[in-house]
Assembly symmetry: C2
């Protein structure tokens, strides 16, 4: 299976790596990339992530079989609204946003998607790092990583399969979940860790940073991520994050109670249980 024309809107670390991965495996006849700045497009071409480029999303998606929206998450719905009138019938639209509930709900409301003239499949590859931008892109970024794809009562199974195949061919392990379940999982394994890292960094007096050994540095590396992205994540997944912060506080308070009341045997059991879970990974 090969796409005739793929349009990638937003050519940063993820969009750029997708372009490189698709091109290097010849999974599309032509890839058109869209960004806000011409300089990014030049860089993306240098990285061999694109065949063609433009600053105009509506022009870029004309005749595309597959459109991948890889912009910052707060722009995804807006861009979908802009491009949907310009898509050919049968076109598949997907995204790579790290929050799915709000995005999938809003996009599935759109008339052409409701009428099944075009198809939407929500996606989220668990790749990337605190680095951003196409200059860090690489064609094997998704190798052996998990890529979530969403399935809802409105999802077209044919379209889902095509998107699933594409991710499989570039090395990712796809996992099909509801948008709600996705947002719960990533709250645990990504959003909570980030908030803990921010908080750890902010409570620690800066004059102590230079004493930090591995644990502190490992835990706070992700604080170098793009602050705007994380503000958006908190806004768009606020309910799950709120619930999980409460769960974290209750659990940490139990640990605090064990220490304060000298129940160190229970504490040891807890640490040992955690270690055996972690070592099993």
């Amino acid at each position: 299976m090969r796409f005739k024309k793929v349009a990638i809107i937003g050519v940063g670390l993820i969009g750029g790596s997708l372009g490189m991965a698709i091109k290097s495996r010849r999974l599309a006849e032509v890839i058109t990339g869209v960004t806000c700045h011409r300089s990014t497009l030049i860089l993306a071409k240098k990285h061999n992530a694109l065949d063609r480029s433009t600053l105009d999303s509506c022009k870029a998606v004309k005749d595309a079989d597959l459109v991948i929206i890889a912009t910052p998450i707060f722009r995804i719905v807006k861009i979908a609204k802009q491009i949907v009138p310009h898509l050919k019938s049968g076109c598949i639209v997907t995204d790579v946003g790290s929050v799915k509930g709000v995005i999938v709900r809003e996009i599935e409301k759109m008339a052409r998607i409701r009428r099944k003239e075009i198809y939407f499949v929500g996606g989220h590859p668990m790749a990337g790092s605190e680095k951003s931008g196409v200059s860090f892109a690489k064609s094997d970024l998704f190798k052996n990583t998990v890529c979530f794809l969403t399935s809802t009562p409105r999802t077209d199974q044919g379209a889902l399969n095509k998107v699933k195949n594409l991710w499989g061919k570039i090395g990712a392990v796809t996992e099909i979940v509801s948008p709600q379940k996705h947002d719960r999982i990533v709250a645990y394994i990504s959003h909570l860790p980030h908030l803990l890292a921010y908080n750890l960094l902010m409570v620690t007096p800066p004059q102590y940073y230079r004493y930090a050994a591995g644990s502190f540095l490992d835990m706070t590396r992700i604080v170098s991520s793009d602050p705007q992205l994380w503000q958006d994540v908190c806004r768009m997944n606020s309910r799950e994050i709120d619930r999980l912060l409460r769960e974290h506080s209750i659990s940490l308070n139990e640990i605090k109670g064990l220490i304060a009341s000298g129940r160190f045997k229970k504490l040891l059991n807890l640490f040992a249980r955690a270690k055996s879970r972690r070592d099993a990974q």
Copy 2:
């Protein structure tokens, strides 16, 4: 400056690396190592961490100029009590325990140390990892790491300088602090991160672990550390940890409040401030 005889009690990752570092730089004429198990001593000799070895601490410290106690922290005071009667006058005793307040206080109470027949200098190199045991030891483990040394009204400056010189010669950057300040610093940069990591791992449903990307794995790597060590740390630094857990909760609650009440601009400011602090490291 060179020591005639150095005794290292406890030849694990830290004690073993110290032996290797001292030997490779010829900072002692002879190094005697003590452990509980003969098998560890054989391994330590293989690693070239020792010249001589014994299972008997009291015998090992005879005629030593410098004794380094590198056992698990809960045994340090007990071992000091055992060996002190067997030390020659003028001997310097130091340790590598990751908590200092309790240890320094208890050891400074001992009669021969009070009479300045022998000297105690508390130490704590910020090296090591979730790995333990002499098989992970290496002679450059301390290169460019911080090593805390404690100073109290009872500390002998000559002894402090000798211990400081030794750490400097094996590549560490020494930092002289009070035991109380040490315990506060490490609560921030090591003990809180560990407790957050344990808690993060325990609240996360194990069936989600396999989706974890870098942030979760980075943050929970330290959970593989020795649970007994961390129980001891919590017990021996309980006051600072309790205070800091409270500070963490208050601060995290503020973040929770910003999210719940939709004050996302303030959240963005906080994330940006954290990023600029982290990037400056």
